[in-house]
């Protein structure tokens, strides 16, 4: 680290010698819009080839000091940039023309930026306006449907939990498949840091409203600059910066309420009794019992002292019997409010952006709440005419009242399985059912309400993201930039479970408390030179530099039991300190990178980039990886034969090819290790814990991309088409080794998989003028195939039904194939699917007894084949309206987590979904629900019966706003007043029978085990009212 600082200081000190000494003079002028001739505020006025520049003020006036013979560049989002030689003029007025979809927009690349027109790689850009004020805690959720080829699954409805993001498919089996997140140049902690319930999402510490733009580096040429960490795509997040001119103050307040998007219909008492009387009678029939026999299934359920009698507190069959919708108890109305304040401004030398936010969001599941307070200060300062410095800093505190994971009886939604006859309140105690001193064995399963009433688990995180930079202009066109950033995440998790929860927390008989501390510290330094030179028809843009990252994670944990009473909740009062640990892990990256873009005659583009990545995670024999990429583009519309074409205004073809890596393989996977956890009843012991692999390295992805960018009718219609092939090799797998070694597995680089697909983006301006109507559409296809896993059996998900198999997409559902119901007797049937000697498949069926004799086959694929989004925005006068749909198709969801209990034609006493009422009876023979047989298995084994199509189309957001006319607002001395109403997840169109097709259970999900539903709460439907005031 000291070396880097020394180098930076060294770099800066010799730059001091280069103080520019050119003569300065001042140029002023006004920038107006060609549309209505009004002054344009906030237009960037840059002096070409220097760090100097300014912005226009509220009236469109600017003032800038320049050297003789300088050239000014005027640029503004949505308008074509203009270059103007000043000559000997001192006043220059400019009229800017709107560019339909400006190709002159600046796109952030790694360690630099580029004009979109000149891009040869594939970078998707999502701007602030696409996600601002969306009621989601983390920005990754907001990317859903906004960028082609970027698939997002929010998993479930618990607040602040991990989100699955896949850029161009899933390119790993055992290592992470999540993209790398980089905020203002610092790779940030984005993986789970939770010790309770499902995975959490550290990106929720970042206020989405602080973000100016998000760039997603998708292809190899864009990603190679991030080398060994770019194979899953790179998400570059740039925060907002101040502009010179009048200080702008924006206050936004929004408040509203959320509800779970769906309830699943479950049986009420009447249906339950009718259904289970049948189920018990059929079971009695099979066992030759009379329904009045005291030992019969029927009497066991309905007789005196039987199941319903017990679990209804004796109210069953009496006038006191109540009908209780337990599912409804799991949900609540989730009010939310959010207050934002943003102030930005500055002068020619110093610009600032500051913001504060308070967010308070109540979950749609009982007991779930999230609160965030965050602040940010971004400063850019021009220290001298060759030196710019700046600071970006944010602080946040987040509190998350967590819920247990989906597979816990204390998961509120598991209440749906409870018997409708069981009252919510124990009539004997007046307390919730199951609370002592009442009978703790009622209801049927642990009552999750008790964990809301008598337990809590709160995660509090403090997050600081700071990045400072200094940028020196050494020569015209040559800059040196040094950046130093930190990402500090301090997290405390504290839980206390009172004695009332003992049925769920077996050790809570006298209370159990736990306290976890997690400290993740991440340092990052970037030092790079960038060079830009235009010589006649040649333009060259180059970057070379290095980067160093150091990350440390420390954790500690203490647990105590036996508290004097539930009034004491701190472990200080625990008579037994029952458990404790402290751990630490580290990783480091040292990288060198370079990039060169060459442009000839504004139409021929070539790009080269490469990175050398060294990491403490790699083995000694392969410590450094080299990741090069090459790309080329041809702007055909610059050629004479298309130059002034009336229809085709822009046309570019581009191609790229290169290597990227995935190094999310954990820390120290390459070393031979001993661990000190092999004690024997108090005597300390150690054991060999990991076998060495000094050759271990990153996973390598070779990606080829060809693309076409087009603009028609003066770019009113524009878009992109891409085709890509990603081949990932040297997959990091845990490979079986001979057990006689004393080990069972070892990390090795073996295996391969591929992803390929199309991406399509289309933006249109349907109407211009008073009524403005824009549409943007994106969609992508992705086909994933595992080509080689060297015969390893890799399975996961609910009942290990997800499997990684050669020749199949990653994580396919591999289980027995359900063949429906025998209409003659209501038996469930399964296809044998055994392979005969001649290779033919036996499609005959067997019933329950033959289940084990059937072969498992691939019955579904959790990976979407097609996904996208479409946004329409309309504005007329002061009214603005936008509607955004996103959709996913071709993926399957495994409902077995719920179905094995709740859609199992009455095998257990769990309350059933109403579709089970369609079970086979002699009068209802043509059904796919087998005969209900209480306590006798009939088709509830794992099978394709529970694999459903998870395609959906969702009205993701809708908003309607009205900006008050200036004539009114100016009287109140306000710049702008906008009131709006917005809604999220207003409607979902799907055939999926569970709560929500956008599902990834927080318990059974792994990198490849996707699409599992396990009483996973659905997403919230939120309606908000807001007001935005500009001062």
């Amino acid at each position: 680290m000291r070396h880097i600082l020394r180098m930076s200081i060294f770099g800066l000190s010799w730059c001091v010698a280069l103080l520019a000494n050119a003569q300065d003079r001042t140029v002023t002028g006004k920038v107006t819009s060609s549309e209505d001739g009004t002054g344009m505020p906030g237009v960037s006025v840059a002096v070409k080839g220097t760090a100097r520049g300014s912005n226009t003020d509220a009236e469109g006036n600017y003032k800038v000091s320049v050297a003789d013979n300088a050239t000014l560049i005027f640029s503004f989002v949505g308008f074509a940039a203009i270059e103007e030689k000043i000559g000997n003029r001192s006043v220059i007025n400019i009229q800017m023309k709107a560019d339909a979809k400006s190709l002159s927009e600046v796109v952030v690349t790694g360690y630099g930026s580029q004009i979109k027109r000149d891009l040869t790689g594939n970078i998707a850009q999502v701007k602030a306006k696409d996600f601002e004020n969306m009621p989601v805690p983390s920005v990754d959720q907001a990317l859903q449907g906004k960028a082609a080829g970027v698939f997002v699954n929010s998993g479930g409805g618990k607040l602040g939990q991990a989100v699955t993001v896949r850029v161009r498919g899933n390119s790993s089996i055992s290592a992470s498949s999540q993209p790398l997140y980089v905020v203002d140049g610092v790779p940030v902690t984005s993986d789970d840091q939770s010790n309770y319930g499902g995975d959490t999402n550290p990106l929720a510490d970042i206020n989405p409203n602080d973000i100016e733009s998000i760039e997603i580096l998708k292809d190899a040429s864009a990603g190679a600059i991030y080398g060994a960490r770019a194979a899953n795509g790179v998400v570059l997040i740039s925060t907002k910066r101040g502009k010179a001119g009048k200080t702008s103050v924006s206050i936004n307040y929004q408040a509203g309420s959320a509800q779970a998007t769906k309830r699943l219909p479950f049986l009420n008492t009447e249906q339950y009794e009718k259904f289970y009387r049948q189920a018990a009678a059929y079971a009695d029939g099979l066992d030759g019992l009379d329904v009045n026999d005291p030992n019969s299934y029927t009497q066991g359920l309905f007789g005196a002292g039987g199941f319903l009698d017990y679990y209804s507190y004796g109210t069953y069959g009496t006038p006191k019997q109540t009908d209780n919708n337990w599912q409804e108890k799991a949900f609540q109305k989730g009010p939310m409010q959010q207050m934002d304040m943003q102030i930005s401004g500055g002068n020619e030398k110093t610009k600032f952006f500051m913001s504060g936010q308070y967010l308070n969001q109540t979950g749609t599941l009982i007991g779930n709440k999230l609160e965030r307070i965050s602040g940010r200060l971004n400063i850019d300062h021009q220290a001298t005419n060759w030196l710019n410095v700046g600071l970006m800093m944010s602080l946040s505190r987040g509190d998350n009242w967590r819920l247990p994971d989906d597979n816990a009886f204390s998961n509120p939604l598991q209440a749906a399985a409870l018997t409708p006859h069981t009252p919510f309140i124990d009539p004997n105690t007046g307390l919730s059912a199951g609370a002592p001193p009442g009978d703790i064995n009622i209801p049927l399963y642990y009552n999750p309400i008790l964990s809301v009433e008598y337990a809590k688990f709160v995660q509090t995180s403090y997050r600081n993201l700071t990045n400072t930079y200094a940028q020196a202009t050494i020569l015209p066109g040559l800059k040196f930039r040094t950046e130093f950033g930190v990402d500090v995440l301090n997290q405390n998790e504290e839980g206390y479970f009172q004695s009332q929860t003992v049925r769920n927390q077996t050790r809570a008989a006298n209370g159990i408390g736990s306290n976890y501390g997690t400290f993740v510290t991440n340092y990052n330094a970037n030092n790079f030179f960038s060079f830009n030179k235009e010589i006649g028809i040649h333009n060259i843009d180059a970057t070379v530099g290095m980067s160093y990252q150091q990350s440390q994670t420390k954790r500690n944990f203490v647990e105590g039991t036996n508290f004097p009473s539930d009034s004491y909740r701190k472990i200080a009062s625990a008579a037994i300190k029952s458990d404790g640990t402290s751990t630490e892990t580290n990783f480091r990256f040292l990288s060198y990178f370079a990039r060169a873009n060459y442009r000839l005659k504004d139409r021929y583009l070539v790009g080269l980039s490469a990175r050398v990545d060294g990491s403490s995670r790699f083995g000694k024999n392969s410590r450094y990886g080299f990741f090069p990429a090459v790309s080329a583009g041809w702007v055909i519309s610059e050629e004479s034969f298309l130059k002034n074409n009336r229809i085709v205004s822009f046309l570019k073809i581009r191609a790229s090819h290169g290597l990227t890596g995935n190094s999310e393989i954990g820390d120290f996977p390459q070393l031979g290790l001993f661990q000190g956890d092999a004690g024997y009843v108090g005597a300390p012991g150690q054991r060999p814990s990991q076998i060495a692999n000094p050759d271990l390295k990153w996973e390598t992805t070779t990606q080829t991309d060809i693309g076409l960018d087009f603009g028609l009718l003066n770019n009113r219609i524009n878009g992109e088409i891409d085709y890509y092939i990603k081949n990932t090799n040297d997959l990091l797998l845990e490979v079986n080794v001979p057990g006689t070694t004393g080990f069972s597995r070892q990390f090795k680089n073996v295996g391969a998989l591929e992803n390929k697909g199309f991406e399509f983006v289309l933006n249109t301006q349907n109407t211009v003028g008073k009524l403005k109507w824009n549409t943007s559409l994106n969609f992508a296809t992705n086909a994933n195939k595992v080509t080689d896993v060297q015969g390893q059996i890799i399975e996961g998900g609910v009942r290990n039904m997800n499997r990684v198999m050669e020749g199949q997409p990653i994580g396919v559902f591999f289980t027995r194939e359900y063949a429906g119901v025998n209409p003659d007797n209501g038996d469930a049937l399964f296809y044998k699917n055994t392979k005969a000697a001649d290779g033919s498949i036996d499609r005959s069926t067997v019933t329950n007894g033959g289940y084990n004799s059937t072969e498992r086959v691939v019955v579904g694929n959790p990976n979407p084949k097609f996904f996208g989004g479409i946004t329409n925005t309309l504005s007329y006068g002061g009214i603005d309206f936008s509607i955004f749909f996103n959709g996913v198709s071709g993926n399957d969801v495994n409902f077995y987590g719920v179905g094995q209990y709740s859609s199992a034609n009455g095998i257990y006493e769990d309350n059933q979904t109403t579709d089970q009422l369609n079970a086979w009876t002699p009068d209802n023979r043509n059904t796919d629900v087998p005969q209900a047989r209480y306590l006798i298995t009939n088709g509830s084994q794992p099978s394709s019966r529970y694999i459903f199509d998870g395609s959906y189309l969702r009205l993701r957001t809708l908003s309607l706003g009205y900006t008050l006319p200036k004539s009114i607002t100016s009287r109140a001395k306000l710049e702008r007043v906008r009131v709006y109403v917005s809604a999220m997840n207003l409607a979902t169109f799907t055939k999926y029978k569970g709560w929500d097709p956008e599902v990834n259970s927080d318990t059974f999900t792994s990198n490849f085990a996707q699409g599992n539903d396990f009483y996973t709460p659905p997403q919230p439907r939120t309606i908000l009212f807001g007001i935005n005031i500009g001062l």
């Binding site: 070396h3 751990t583 012991g685 060495a692």
Partner: protein, 464 residues
């Protein structure tokens, strides 16, 4: 100017090369294998790690190797439905119970893996004895040899044919690995040694262990423990003289005595504060912080009136077994129903959740000496009748006046019921399991499929 720039770049990039060392990050929670075994204390800790492997390493909650795995595997393989019923849901145990094992049976796989885990840990100790201080070296070596020898013996009698069934010098035993693993290469694909070779290795290890071990060594292995496993091994081979002598050495040490009543010999946490009763020659230690009792997991069940009891209640004892006991036999009353009207009966031996798992009790040694003396017509240590009557007296039964081999074997079956001897006694005495003869391939565990997937040349057992 350009020169300055170039110079700066060169200087900057070369200085940065020093950063390479930054990538040598050492783990903090674990240590590199090269620094793990440098001092006496390190090797002693590795030895404790080898006991840990016998006890139930890492996440396996069903008890490993001597913490239950060897024992319940033997009992389930020997179980006939009239005497014992398996009512659990684990497919691996059901297969054992029905004698319909598949090559992917997880018990067969786990026992194999965990046994070699223990062997590798013992090998790590044996390869680093030079670092152990002189005063401790002999003991440390003895303990590691004991662990390795005992585990090889258990492996060969579970995965190989019974000694003497065919040619011991050609029947496949198990792979012999005698050095610690530091890296995995082709050389780690080790073929099966013969039954004779594995027995020879186990005898060698245990004999050396007995010589090296001290007389007393807390609950760790001592001289008598090594002798006890040797007695068991020789008995399995039908080498009655050696078995008799080894058993006699254990008894004659005078360190152990039968406790009364019979029930005091079990459920050590409930009865004895977690300590071994005087009768235990060797037991795997379990407490509420460490280890799990695999016998408790499957034979035990929660008895509402006895706090501290637990278990899945999977293995239930049937009337035909209980009928073997004479009236007044304390061992015949050592069964329990969870509630008065429960249909299931459980052995009382393993109710204790945190009880130690007995591996060798003194009564096994007494019965081994009695059987060997009887077969050889000798009275080394004591007359066979006196030995058998010592066992009967403790059980509250009248003494016998005459003795037959059948009577000794019956006494052995009842005294040591469910403690892991069943299948091995049937095999060495040429008995049957239901209709299966003692040498049926169905009573031998398969070499795990995963091993043969990695190393196809590893010979599979007959019948798989």
């Amino acid at each position: 100017m350009k020169k300055i720039f170039l110079l700066g770049t060169v200087v900057a990039l070369t200085t940065l090369n020093g950063c390479d060392k930054k990538l040598d990050v050492a783990p903090t929670q674990t240590i590199d294998q090269t620094v793990a075994l440098n001092a006496s204390k390190d090797v002693e800790a590795a030895l404790i790690g080898a006991y840990d492997a016998l006890q139930g390493a890492s996440t396996n909650t069903n008890g490993d190797t001597y913490a239950g795995g060897y024992q319940y595997t033997s009992e389930l393989l020997a179980a006939v439905t009239t005497e014992v019923r398996f009512g659990g849901t684990f497919a691996n145990l059901q297969e054992l119970f029905r004698k319909e094992l598949t090559t992917i049976n997880t018990t067969a796989e786990t026992l194999w893996l965990r046994s070699y885990l223990a062997i590798n840990r013992a090998n790590n100790v044996l390869a680093n004895l030079d670092k152990v201080t002189d005063a401790k070296r002999s003991r440390v070596e003895g303990e590691a040899l004991f662990i390795r020898g005992a585990v090889y013996f258990e492996l060969v009698r579970l995965y190989g044919k019974q000694w003497g069934d065919g040619n011991n010098a050609s029947n496949p035993g198990v792979p012999l690995v005698l050095t610690p693993t530091t890296a995995v290469t082709e050389a780690n694909k080790v073929p099966r040694s013969t039954v004779a070779e594995v027995y020879a290795q186990a005898i060698d290890d245990l004999t050396k262990a007995e010589a090296a071990l001290p007389v007393a060594n807390s609950f760790y292995a001592n001289k008598s423990v090594a002798a006890a496993i040797l007695a068991r091994l020789y008995l399995q081979q039908g080498n009655f003289a050696a078995a008799r002598d080894a058993a006699n050495r254990v008894i004659a040490s005078g360190r152990y005595r039968l406790v009364t009543p019979f029930g005091a010999a079990f459920n050590t946490k409930l009865n004895n504060g977690g300590a071994n009763p005087a009768e235990y020659v060797f037991a795997i230690q379990v407490n509420d912080q460490d280890g799990s009792n695999g016998m408790n997991t499957f034979f035990g069940t929660t008895i509402g009136s006895i706090p501290g009891t637990a278990g899945r209640g999977d293995i239930r004892i049937q009337p035909a077994h209980i009928a073997f006991y004479e009236a007044g036999d304390a061992r015949g009353a050592f069964f329990i129903k969870p509630s008065a009207n429960s249909a299931n009966v459980f052995t009382y031996k393993f109710l204790d959740r945190f009880g130690n798992v007995p591996v060798v009790r003194l009564s096994e040694m007494i019965l081994t000496r009695a059987e060997a003396n009887f077969r050889l017509g000798t009275t080394v240590g004591a007359a066979p009748l006196a030995d058998v009557n010592a066992i009967r007296t403790r059980a509250g039964l009248p003494s016998l006046t005459t003795l037959t081999l059948a009577a000794i074997l019956k006494e052995r079956k009842l005294e040591l019921a469910f403690e892991g001897h069943a299948i091995h006694d049937i095999k060495r005495t040429g008995g049957t399991v239901g209709t299966l003869p003692f040498n049926s391939p169905k009573l031998i565990l398969p070499v795990p499929q995963r091993e043969r997937d990695i190393f196809p040349l590893l010979v599979q057992n007959e019948g798989y």
